[in-house]
C-alpha cells in the first residue's frame, strides 16, 4: 500500500531532533566512526541519490550491536548505546528519504528500526525524547492506513476451576488488607519485611479499564517491537527470547491456544511507550524506605501473557509491588531465611533461582526442601502484592494476565 504523506512525514521526523545530533567518539572504531559521520551528514541533505548510505548505516548498527553483546550489559559503555540511538534515527531518516515509493510496509519497517534503537540504545542528553516521539508518530501514521481490529476476547473468570487445587496446597495464606494506610503498611509489613496483598488500591488506574480491551493496546502499540520469552520456564534449555511486534505477540501467543507459550515478561514497556505509562500510577507504598533515605524511582516492568505462564521460584534484590491489572495469578512465597532449604542453582546467572519445583518437589533430590515454609495467595484483578526484597516467589498465571511490577530499593 502506497503511503501518501511522504512530504509531511520527513519534516515531522526531522523536527523531533530538537538539537543537533552528536556522535560519541570514545570507544568507537575509527573507520566506522568516519562512516557514521558521513551518514549523519547525509541524512540532513535534501536529495539523496546514493543508496549506499543505507548499507553503510546498517553496517554501523551491526557493528554497535556486536559491541552491545560483548561483555555484560552493565559494562557496555553508555556511549555505544547512545551511538546506537543516533544511528537508529539516521537509518530511519535515510529509509524515509529513499527516492523509491514509500509504502506502509516501509513505515512499519522504519518503526522496527526505531524500536530496536529504543530497546538497545540509551536516551541522548541533547535529544532525550527523540526515538519515543518518532515511534509515537509513526504508529499513528500507520494506524491511518490499516487498523487491525481483533474480535475482543472476554476476560471471563477462569480461575475458579483451579480453586480446588489451590485449596489443597499446604501453605500459610498471605495476609490481605483493603487500602491500608501508608503508616500501617510501613510499620506492620514493610519495615518487618512481611508480604501482604493490598486490595482496592488501583481502582483509579486508567489501565484497569482501558487495558481490558486488546484493541486499545493494538491501537496504541500494535506495531511496536517488544521482547517475548518463548518456552514455559526460563530455566529450560529450549527457552529463548525473541523480538516481535505487540500485534504478533497478541495474535500468536496471547490469544492463540496453540500451546506455544509466549510471555512479554520483565520488560520496561513504559519507557518505550509513553501512552501506556499514562495509564498507570506508581503506588504510594513504594515511597517506603528501609534506611531512612529517600526511595529511588521504582523500576517499572510489564508482564503480559496468556494463561499458564510460570515464573520459577526465584528471588530479586529489590522490594517489589506486583500490581495485577487483570487476570488472576497464583503466588507462592518463601522467606529469605529459608534460602538454605531451597537449593539455588550453582551457576552465577541462575543463582537467584531455586532448582525445586514447589508444586511438585523432588524430596529425594532436595530433602531439605520439606523444612521450608510456604506462603500462598491468589492475586486477582485490581489487587497488589508486596513482595519484600529477597523473598522467593513462584508465580503462575491462572488466566490471561497483565501485571505491572514496581521494584525499588
Amino acid at each position: 500500500m502506497t503511503y501518501h504523506n511522504k512530504n509531511e512525514i520527513i519534516p515531522q521526523i526531522l523536527s523531533f531532533a530538537k538539537n543537533p545530533l552528536n556522535i560519541r567518539e570514545e570507544n568507537f572504531n575509527c573507520h566506522f566512526l568516519h562512516t557514521l559521520k558521513i551518514c549523519l551528514e547525509a541524512q540532513s541533505r535534501e536529495n539523496l541519490e546514493n543508496q549506499d548510505y543505507l548499507f553503510q548505516i546498517d553496517a554501523i548498527l551491526d557493528y554497535i550491536h556486536e559491541e552491545l553483546n560483548t561483555g555484560h550489559w552493565s559494562t557496555v559503555p553508555l556511549t555505544m548505546r547512545e551511538n546506537f540511538t543516533v544511528s537508529s534515527y539516521i537509518k530511519a531518516v535515510l529509509m524515509l528519504k529513499n527516492p523509491n515509493e514509500l509504502t506502509v510496509d516501509s513505515l512499519e519497517h522504519c518503526l522496527k528500526v526505531i524500536d530496536l534503537g529504543l530497546l538497545l540504545g540509551a536516551p541522548l542528553e541533547e535529544n532525550p525524547e527523540l526515538l519515543m516521539e518518532c515511534a509515537k508518530y509513526l504508529q499513528k501514521e500507520i494506524n491511518k492506513y490499516h487498523r487491525d481490529t481483533l474480535i475482543n476476547v472476554e476476560n471471563k473468570t477462569q480461575y475458579e476451576d483451579h480453586l480446588h487445587y489451590y485449596s489443597n496446597i499446604d501453605a500459610i495464606e498471605i495476609e490481605a488488607l483493603i487500602i491500608p494506610s501508608i503508616e500501617t503498611f510501613n510499620n506492620k509489613f514493610f519495615q518487618l519485611q512481611i508480604p501482604v496483598i493490598l486490595k482496592g488500591c488501583m481502582d483509579h488506574w486508567p489501565a484497569s479499564k482501558k487495558w481490558l480491551d486488546v484493541n486499545y493496546l493494538l491501537e496504541v502499540a500494535g506495531n511496536r517491537t517488544v521482547p517475548v520469552e518463548l518456552g514455559s520456564l526460563y530455566t529450560d534449555e529450549q527457552w529463548s527470547q525473541k523480538l516481535m511486534t505487540l500485534k504478533d505477540f497478541i495474535k500468536n501467543h496471547y490469544l492463540s491456544e496453540s500451546g506455544n507459550t509466549g510471555y512479554l515478561a520483565q520488560h520496561n514497556l513504559f519507557d518505550q511507550i509513553s501512552e501506556l505509562r499514562e495509564d498507570i500510577r506508581i503506588p504510594e507504598y513504594c515511597c517506603c524506605s528501609l534506611n531512612f533515605e529517600e526511595a529511588m524511582e521504582p523500576d517499572i516492568n510489564a508482564w503480559l501473557g496468556p494463561k499458564g505462564t510460570v515464573s520459577p521460584l526465584h528471588q530479586d534484590p529489590k522490594n517489589n509491588v506486583l500490581a495485577q491489572v487483570y487476570g488472576t495469578k497464583q503466588i507462592l512465597l518463601y522467606s529469605p531465611e529459608d534460602t538454605q532449604f531451597l537449593y539455588p542453582h550453582g551457576e552465577t546467572m541462575l543463582s537467584n533461582t531455586s532448582q525445586v519445583d514447589p508444586l511438585n518437589p523432588n524430596y529425594i533430590k532436595y530433602p531439605e526442601f520439606k523444612k521450608a515454609t510456604m506462603f500462598k495467595g491468589l492475586l486477582k484483578s485490581g489487587e497488589m502484592l508486596f513482595i519484600p526484597l529477597k523473598w522467593w516467589h513462584h508465580v503462575t498465571a491462572l488466566e490471561k494476565s497483565f501485571s505491572v511490577s514496581f521494584w525499588w530499593q
Partner: protein, 325 residues
C-alpha cells in the same frame, strides 16, 4: 597465492571496490603468504612486510628488520610477533608502530599470539600465558600449538589434542555446560578423550575438528552459526553433520563473528550462519541454520589451502590443482 573473497568489503579490505562482494572475487598476489581479515581493514603478510588494505588510508605498509612470525588483529590494533621474539603493536587509528616492552621472564619469549577487543593473549616458549601484560594465573602448558580468540573468549589447543577454554561464557562459548566466566584456561571435559586437531573461534561460538574428521560446535546460535536449529545457546560441544552425507570428514574450519565455514576432505566447501553480507553464500537468504554447500568455489581448478574468515566476510586461500596428476 589466490584468495577467493566474499562478503563485507565497505573498506576495500578484500581488495575490491564494491562495498559487498557477492560471490567469490579472486584476489591474486603471488607475494602474499597469509591474510588476516578485519572489520574495517585487512593485513597481508609477506616475509618481513605487512601490507594494509583499507580504503580510508593510503594502503600503509610496514617493513621489519626480521621476518614476521604471526600477527593478530582487533578493531583498534594489530599485534605483530617477530621471529626474534619481539612484539610490535600497530595502532589502526594512526598506523603507527610501537615496540612492546618485554613482559616475559628473563629466558622466555612469546611463541603464539591471539587477540580480540577483550583479550590480548600471548603464550611463551615456556608455556606461560599472558593476557598482556599480566600473566594468567595457574596455567602452564608448553605444548600449546594454537590459540583462537572470539569476541571475549579463547580456545587453546595442545599437541595431545586437548582443548582449553577461557573468558566469558555467557553465551555457552566455553563449552563447560554452564554460562559462567573463567579467567584461567580450563580443560574442556566434554571433548576429553577425543583428539582435536583444529580449533576456531567465532564472535561468541567455538568450533573444533577431531582427528577422525568430526566437527564440534557450541556457543551462540542466534543466526544459525552452529549449523543446527534447536538451540539459541548451546553450552556443550555437539557433533554436527554437514549436508546429507554423514560419512564425509571435515578437514578445516573457520568462523566469522556469526558464521562458520568448513572444508571437507573431498574438497567441498560448506557454510552456515549469518549471510546478511553474503559472507556464506551468494543468495539473498539472510541466515543459514544448516550447512549449505558453497557452489561457486571452482573446485575443479583449485584446491583449498586454508579458510580465513573475517568478522563478516570469508576468504578461501586456493592453489591451482596439479593437472598432471
Amino acid at each position: 597465492m589466490r584468495i577467493f573473497c566474499m562478503g563485507f568489503n565497505l573498506y576495500g579490505q578484500l581488495n575490491d571496490k564494491k562495498p559487498c562482494l557477492e560471490g567469490f572475487h579472486i584476489w591474486y598476489d603471488s607475494s602474499i603468504e597469509n591474510i588476516y581479515l578485519g572489520h574495517t581493514f585487512s593485513v597481508a603478510k609477506a616475509k618481513n612486510i605487512l601490507k594494509i588494505y583499507c580504503n580510508l588510508s593510503e594502503n600503509p605498509h610496514f617493513e621489519f628488520s626480521v621476518n614476521v612470525k604471526q600477527i593478530a588483529i582487533n578493531e583498534k590494533n594489530i599485534l605483530v610477533l617477530l621471529t626474534n621474539g619481539q612484539l610490535v603493536k600497530i595502532s589502526v587509528a594512526e598506523w603507527t608502530t610501537k615496540l612492546l616492552p618485554k613482559f616475559t621472564e628473563e629466558k622466555d619469549e612469546p611463541k603464539l599470539i591471539s587477540c580480540n577487543c577483550k583479550l590480548n593473549l600471548v603464550l611463551t616458549t615456556k608455556g606461560l600465558l599472558y593476557s598482556v601484560p599480566e600473566q594468567v594465573a595457574d596455567f602452564i602448558n608448553s605444548n600449546v600449538i594454537d590459540i583462537k580468540t572470539g569476541k571475549e573468549h579463547a580456545l587453546l589447543l595442545d599437541t595431545s589434542g586437548n582443548v582449553y577454554t577461557m573468558g566469558c561464557g555467557s553465551k555457552g562459548q566455553l563449552g563447560t555446560g554452564q554460562l559462567d566466566d573463567h579467567t584461567t584456561p580450563e580443560l574442556l571435559q566434554a571433548l576429553a578423550g577425543i583428539k582435536i586437531v583444529k580449533i576456531a573461534a567465532g564472535g561468541w561460538h567455538s568450533a573444533c575438528v577431531s582427528e577422525q574428521g568430526d566437527l564440534y560446535l557450541w556457543g551462540w546460535n542466534d543466526k544459525g552459526q552452529l549449523g543446527q536449529n534447536d538451540w539459541t545457546v548451546l553450552a556443550t560441544p555437539k557433533a554436527v553433520d554437514i549436508g546429507e552425507n554423514t560419512e564425509v570428514n571435515v578437514k578445516k574450519v573457520a568462523c566469522g563473528t556469526k558464521h562458520t565455514m568448513v572444508l571437507l576432505e573431498n574438497g567441498l566447501l560448506y557454510g552456515c550462519g549469518w549471510n546478511k553480507y553474503k559472507q556464506v553464500n551468494n543468495t539473498d537468504q539472510e541466515e543459514y541454520h544448516y550447512f549449505i554447500k558453497i557452489e561457486d568455489f571452482p573446485y575443479k581448478e583449485y584446491f583449498v589451502d586454508k579458510i580465513v574468515c573475517g568478522p563478516w566476510n570469508t576468504g578461501v586461500v586456493g592453489k591451482v590443482r596439479n593437472k598432471t596428476k
